[in-house]
């Protein structure tokens, strides 16, 4: 470990966390009396046993990538947008309102779809905008404002299900199922996944990093995120820039939310955000702000998520194992990153600044 910036060492600092977190998860599985390899196999099967399960992975990947790309923008602006979970939910609520209201004739179905997605975008932006306004103009830290707005969106969702959207003869678990023309069309019977959403996600994951690197807005975001006081003095409209970061993230979260209700569930449920926003924060932390990695990491996380949903059925194991695995991976990875930076720093420091001369040997 003498040279921590060489190629192999860098690789080791990525691979070791993966191995360690897998080991940790294995120990936990053993602790509850199951076979780790069997669990791994079940997760793999849950994700990749056939085209339908693979589509299930993609159905997580779409909203997760959208949310992560949005969070990439807010992180760039120096903002901890923990409120993303509520923004996804608000997007879902708005899109659901459209789905439960509209019923366009079949030839206008694409228009209705578009309208609902736009409503979702609007909902996400609204929720993000409130967090942003609280942060920027009223000085309420975005972590707490965001957390509160997450909870408020949750309360609103439960209220809708128990009141205005209470389904006739149903239980207060979900709204009535949406009609056919209110849903993203599936690719095919064997590939139940929304093609339009895949296209939107692909565009977002390419376009957003490109905009960040090549435009003045992207540079202004970076400047605001690094030092808002200085950015203001250099002529950056910092409040507008910070707000725009919130709104862009909210818009992407809104699309993610619309996909959850307009495809994954086909109805509104209060828990529709399902921790995808929080998971997105982990994805971006793991990417160390390198946007190319975001869709890849999101894919791996989606596979773990989709694969472990069946653990309860197959092994009577709680699906929270997925979260444990993901969280442990990110934690250990970040710790190793810190370790590597410290070692690098120490190595660069030593020849330059010899710490104190060695003490003269004392007479015995």
């Amino acid at each position: 470990m003498r040279n921590v910036s060489s190629g192999p060492a860098r690789l080791a600092f990525v691979l070791l966390p993966v191995l360690l977190s897998l080991l940790l998860a294995a120990l936990l599985v053993l602790a509850v009396g199951r076979e780790p390899l069997e669990v791994l196999q079940k997760i793999w099967q849950g994700a990749f046993r056939n085209s339908r399960s693979f589509a299930g992975v993609l159905n997580f990947w779409i909203p997760l990538t959208l949310a992560s790309v949005g969070l990439f923008v807010t992180f760039r602006a120096g903002l901890w947008n923990i409120g993303i979970e509520g923004q996804i939910l608000a997007g879902a609520i708005f899109a659901s309102a459209g789905a439960l209201t509209f019923n366009f004739p079949p030839e206008l179905a694409p228009l209705q779809l578009l309208l609902q997605i736009l409503l979702g975008v609007l909902g996400g932006m609204l929720w993000a905008g409130i967090t942003g306004a609280l942060k920027i103009w009223l000085g309420v830290n975005e972590i707490f404002g965001g957390m509160a707005l997450n909870a408020l969106a949750g309360v609103w969702g439960i209220y809708l299900i128990s009141g205005p959207w209470y389904p006739e003869g149903g239980s207060a678990q979900q709204s009535r199922p949406f009609l056919e023309n209110a849903l993203y069309p599936a690719l095919s019977r064997d590939w139940p996944v929304g093609l339009l959403a895949i296209v939107m996600t692909a565009v977002a994951m390419v376009l957003v990093p490109l905009i960040m690197a090549r435009t003045r807005w992207g540079l202004q975001l970076k400047a605001t995120g690094s030092n808002p006081r200085s950015a203001l003095l250099l002529g950056v409209p910092t409040t507008r820039v910070a707000m725009s970061a919130f709104l862009v993230c909210g818009a992407l979260a809104g699309i993610a939310g619309s996909y959850r209700v307009m495809f994954t569930y086909g109805s509104f449920r209060p828990l529709v955000a399902g921790g995808i926003g929080f998971l997105g924060l982990l994805v971006v932390l793991l990417s160390t702000m390198k946007p190319l990695w975001i869709p890849l990491i999101a894919f791996v996380f989606s596979a773990i998520l989709a694969g472990s949903t069946r653990l309860r059925v197959s092994l009577q194991l709680d699906s929270s194992l997925a979260g444990v695995l993901q969280g442990a991976l990110v934690l250990v990875f970040i710790l190793f990153q810190g370790l590597r930076q410290r070692l690098e720093l120490r190595r660069n420091e030593l020849p330059r600044m010899p710490h104190r001369p060695p003490a003269p040997p004392r007479a015995a």
């Binding site: 030092n227 250099l234 002529g235 104190r356």
Partner: protein, 500 residues
């Protein structure tokens, strides 16, 4: 007690901050450590007081080798240092600050500590009040507290780092009287680190001069009562010669015809958490330089920020060439050629983590899509023009302080209408400071008006057409700058307006 430094070496990267320095400090004497910024004074004193280890060399206390692993070690051996920004805790009261660090029991004896504090304070002619929170106290009072605290810990060698920056003439007198009493009556070793000739001549018994990390020489000072200007001038010029190797005066300032009014302030009322300014009126013409004098936090910072939209104006009007801009955003001002430069460069002004090209792109790019190659070559040219030692791709924090200040100059618009600069030469060595003023004066000749604040009285006198003195939010204009001496200005910043 006697302290000796033997062959002290200290390096920071490529800079040899202390190069083989040896010096003896006898008891009961006040020794000045003189040198310009970056000469290695502070480094040497930090080594002596345990804040930094030396790379090589010895510290001897009464002939015995001393090893200081921490400031606490040094204090236990009787050496204490008063930092330029006193190392106290703002949220504590005076008494808490005094008690914290004393070898007290878990439950301190507040009563005896308080009487100890009050007694020592009175003995030295200080004005400390036990219950006042430190964050509400002036630098001068915080210095007094720190001195009393260190003495109470049994220190008999006291190091003061630039203690006269940011205090008034009267506070300086109190401080100097106390230091003389300590040295000449109680036998305490006093070391005064300073780059100000007047201070060391007035106070010290002898002066050691450092230049570029080396000990250049030492001079005995005249007796405290010496007032003969001829004698003083000879000593001064000898010291200047030692400090710089040659004499550097301020720039010759071209007379610039003062034309139309750029900025007009009408009856401004301003307030922040500490103070309020009532009824500030000012007009500033093209090519005019106005200096704002005053102790730290006397209102000049608040006024400068409020003028360009960075703080709120409670009432009154700010007019920029007849256009009212009261309480408009800073960007409004910036778009009209009003630029603000804050004192802390990396905190306010430059952005750590961004490259020089990125900085340039922020202020120069008009288009939404950035043309990186063009911006980079533009940046390279600009760096050359401003003689910045650094590459376009370097991150700003990799540059030295002087070079960062040069980058800030390069980032200014070509012909600003008004520059508002907070302590534009703070922390710079003499050469860099001169370069900055050369740049500013060039812009002034092009018609730019300049409003700047400084705690260096000679800088204010040398460069200002007019000087406004701030004291606790009150503003007073110096009637005739050309006829004002630095000493008179020193009394004014202490709030003694009525003395003329």
């Amino acid at each position: 007690m006697e302290i000796e430094l033997r062959n002290i070496h200290k390096r920071f990267g490529s800079v040899h901050a202390n190069n083989d320095i040896s010096v003896v400090f006898p008891a009961g004497r006040i020794t000045g450590i003189l040198g310009e910024n970056g000469a290695g004074k502070s480094t040497l004193m930090k080594i002596l007081s345990g804040f930094q280890p030396a790379d090589r060399g010895d510290v001897l206390v009464d002939g015995l080798s001393a090893q200081f692993g921490s400031p606490e070690d040094a204090i236990q051996q009787g050496i204490g240092m008063l930092q330029q920004d006193p190392l106290d805790i703002g949220a504590f009261t005076t008494l808490e600050n005094f008690v914290y660090g004393r070898p007290e029991k878990v439950l301190p004896d507040w009563h005896s500590a308080r009487s100890d504090l009050e007694e020592r304070s009175a003995q030295l002619g200080f004005d400390l009040e036990a219950e006042t929170p430190v964050e509400r106290m002036s630098i001068a009072l915080r210095q007094q507290l720190e001195i009393v605290r260190l003495l109470a810990l049994g220190v008999n060698a006291l190091i003061l780092d630039e203690p006269t920056t940011g205090i008034s003439a009267e506070q300086k007198q109190t401080l100097f009287a106390a230091l003389q009493q300590l040295a000449h009556r109680d036998g305490v070793i006093i070391l005064l680190v300073s780059h100000k000739l007047e201070d060391v001549i007035t106070l010290c018994d002898r002066v050691v001069v450092l230049r570029a990390g080396q000990r250049i020489g030492e001079e005995d000072m005249p007796a405290p009562g010496e007032t003969d200007p001829a004698t003083l001038n000879i000593i001064k010029s000898r010291l200047v010669h030692l400090m710089f190797g040659q004499e550097l005066g301020p720039h010759e300032r071209q007379a610039v015809p003062l034309e139309k009014t750029v900025l007009q302030l009408e009856n401004l009322y301003l307030r922040d958490r500490r103070l309020q300014i009532e009824g500030l009126n000012l007009s500033l013409r093209q090519g005019e330089v106005i200096g704002l004098a005053g102790l730290d936090n006397s209102g000049q910072g608040l006024a400068m920020r409020a003028i360009c939209g960075l703080e709120t104006v409670s009432s009154g009007r700010v007019l920029l060439e007849d256009e009212e801009l009261t309480n408009r955003s800073y960007r409004h001002f910036l778009n009209r050629g009003v630029v603000f430069g804050a004192a802390g460069r990396l905190e306010e002004g430059l952005i750590a983590g961004l490259t020089l090209t990125e900085h340039m792109a922020l202020v120069r790019s008009e288009r939404a899509v950035l043309d990186w190659p063009a911006l980079e070559s533009y940046t390279r040219e600009s760096l050359q023009h401003y003689d910045v030692r650094g590459q376009a791709g370097d991150r700003i924090e990799q540059l030295s302080g002087g070079n960062q200040q040069r980058v800030l100059m390069a980032l200014l618009p070509a012909r600003p209408r008004l520059l508002i600069l907070e302590q534009p030469t703070r922390g710079l060595d003499v050469e860099s400071a001169r370069w900055i003023w050369q740049q500013l004066l060039e812009r002034r000749e092009g018609g730019t008006a300049i409003l700047f604040s400084s705690v260096e009285l000679d800088e204010l006198v040398a460069y200002s057409d007019r000087i406004l003195v701030f004291y606790a939010g009150r503003v007073h204009e110096v009637p005739d700058v050309a006829a004002t001496t630095i000493d008179e200005l020193g009394y004014l910043i202490g709030g003694e307006f009525r003395q003329e």
